[in-house]
Amino acid sequence: MRQVGSWFARAGVGFVRACTVAAVTMLVPGVWAAAVALGIWWGPANPWSWVAPFVLVCLGTLALSRPVCRMVRHLVRRWTTSVIPDGYRPAPQVVRMSTGYWWNGFSYERSRRDAVMDQRWRLRYTDPATWRDLRFTVIAPFTAGLIASLPPVGAAAALLWLGRPGPGAGLLGAAGVVVAVASAPYAWRPLEPVAVRFLRPSRAAALTDRVDELTAQRANATVAQAAELRRIERDLHDGAQARLVALGLSLATAEKLMENDPDRARTILREARAGASASLAELRELVRGISPPVLTERGLVDAVRALALDIPLDTHVDADLRRRPEPPVESALYFGIAELLTNAVKHAHASRARVSIAQHADHLVVEVEDDGRGAATMHTGGGLAGLRRRLTAFDGTVEITSPAGGPTRIRMAVPCESS
């Protein structure tokens, strides 16, 4: 009984999905049919009866192709495990030049609006994704669309004929019911293979995207590295170096005073020793910021354990790593975890946290969870965006689940060989 029930539920869901697919894919043929109907209605005598429908077909197809494809991608992502990237070319930024004109990556325009419009049309025309979308809008109705129409057509036939007298009508109505019910769970499914086959960006396009991504990453890494070196230079210059100069000065003074005023000399020496201690403390902090010594000595897991002991948060560390990851990955993950735990204390006001580090197939996965007030978001220039940027250098990802009121769970994954 339960099996029958679940089958009916599946049929119901399938029916709704088939109707949706039919409606979306048949939108463009609908425009075509409307154009043809218009031509016939005007009759051959009207000189516009050929031109107007033709224009309507062209414009309608062009205007609807992108929304239809967007909708199809959305449906496929929602109903199946396939994800079809849209692969549209990103628009270059429209910038105002010193002459007052606007540059949109293709040409100069007098106003910002013109520049944006011009850019949009040029992008549309030159983007291979546009032609791919058009091809799909034409192919889809005759494949996925046709099959998905079976259940609604069957249902319509049943509605139309079942109420009418006569054995022929009854038979047709019954056939409609059978077709509608039998095909309902399956009729929407061809959408996925058709979309994957015809809507997925070509290999060349995917590679172009990857090259752009890597170029941006490289630029990012270079900038970040330079900034980091500048910070270290500044810290050394204002800190340890200055203190060593002061130390030398104190020693020279003490040497001079030794004969005449040994008491003052002793005071100065004592101060010099305190200065040496202070500069060591400063250097220690600096070193901790560049590469924490525990990380070098013990690796990621123990470094995170040491970190957990140092922060004012009840932190539980779960770790299962068979071998140490590459040092840059280790360092990026360590600083990532440190930042997340700091956030948990500072912003989320959490009292407990859990860190788990594990090897999942070919990924190293780190999860940080706290019981704070949640609502952590990734905004440009924020700490989490910086974390994501640092991890993208290793093709890593950051996922955030942080509803308002908590708990916050953040998952970092970095590819690495498992052997």
């Binding site: 220690r284 901790r288 010594p293 000595e297 123990d302 002991l309 004012p312 948060l313 009840d314």
Partner: protein, 215 residues
């Protein structure tokens, strides 16, 4: 005292040997790598040893591991660990066996020769010498250690100083209290923590271990 010094940087090792000998102690052996350190500890069974955490061949925590291995074989062998940085994690590992005779200090603690040699002697006698930086980190670690919640503010600061390795007299000087007042605080503290040992040194080590959440 017979002392072993393990440190890979020649200047520091040489300086430390001279300092220790200047105070009338005998440096029986020096070592500059992890395996050498372990050999020296096994051969000489020194009254106390001064060991650097980071040493060749791996430049990781060779020295610390040698010290832990030696204490595994010879329980209670007094070691004083020196490092450029202090970690609670390492402090717990060192104190984990509960045998005492452990010191863990920042390298710059040698700046104050009297205090350094004092710490060395305390460790040799089976006491502890923890760097104030470790203690400070413990104190800022929030209310994680529930067992200490029953102590008063004053008892806690006494415990902190005790963990650094100070005697009641020295703690009294630091807190501007009489030695007998400190004695009262320590007695009530031991009672609250349920430590009932006759030997005062053992009691102090166990209190410090409780402090480090290990007891």
């Amino acid at each position: 005292m017979r002392v072993v010094v393990a440190e890979d940087l020649y200047l520091l090792r040489d300086g430390m040997v001279r300092l220790i000998e200047a105070y009338g102690h005998q440096v029986v052996a020096t070592a500059s790598t992890g395996p050498e350190t372990l050999d020296a500890l096994r051969t000489w069974r020194p009254d106390v040893s001064v060991i650097d955490v980071r040493m060749p061949p791996t430049q990781s925590d060779e020295g610390l591991r040698a010290a832990l291995a030696a204490r595994g074989e010879m329980p209670g062998l007094p070691v004083l660990i020196l490092s450029q940085h202090v970690e609670q994690l390492y402090a717990r590992e060192l104190l984990g066996d509960g045998a005492g005779g452990v010191g863990y200090l920042l390298k710059e603690s040698v700046f104050d020769a009297d205090q350094f040699i004092g710490a060395l002697q305390r460790v040799a006698a089976g006491g502890t010498a923890m760097d104030p930086a470790v203690i400070a980190k413990l104190l800022s670690g929030g209310s994680r250690n529930r067992r200490l919640d029953c102590l008063t503010e004053r008892e806690r600061s006494v415990l902190g100083l005790m963990a650094e390795g100070l005697s009641n007299q020295a703690i009294g000087r630091r807190l501007f209290l009489s030695e007998s007042a400190i004695g009262k605080y320590t007695t009530s503290m031991f009672t609250k923590l349920g430590i009932d040992d006759d030997d005062d040194t053992n009691r102090r080590v166990r209190a410090v271990l409780t402090y480090l959440n290990q007891a």
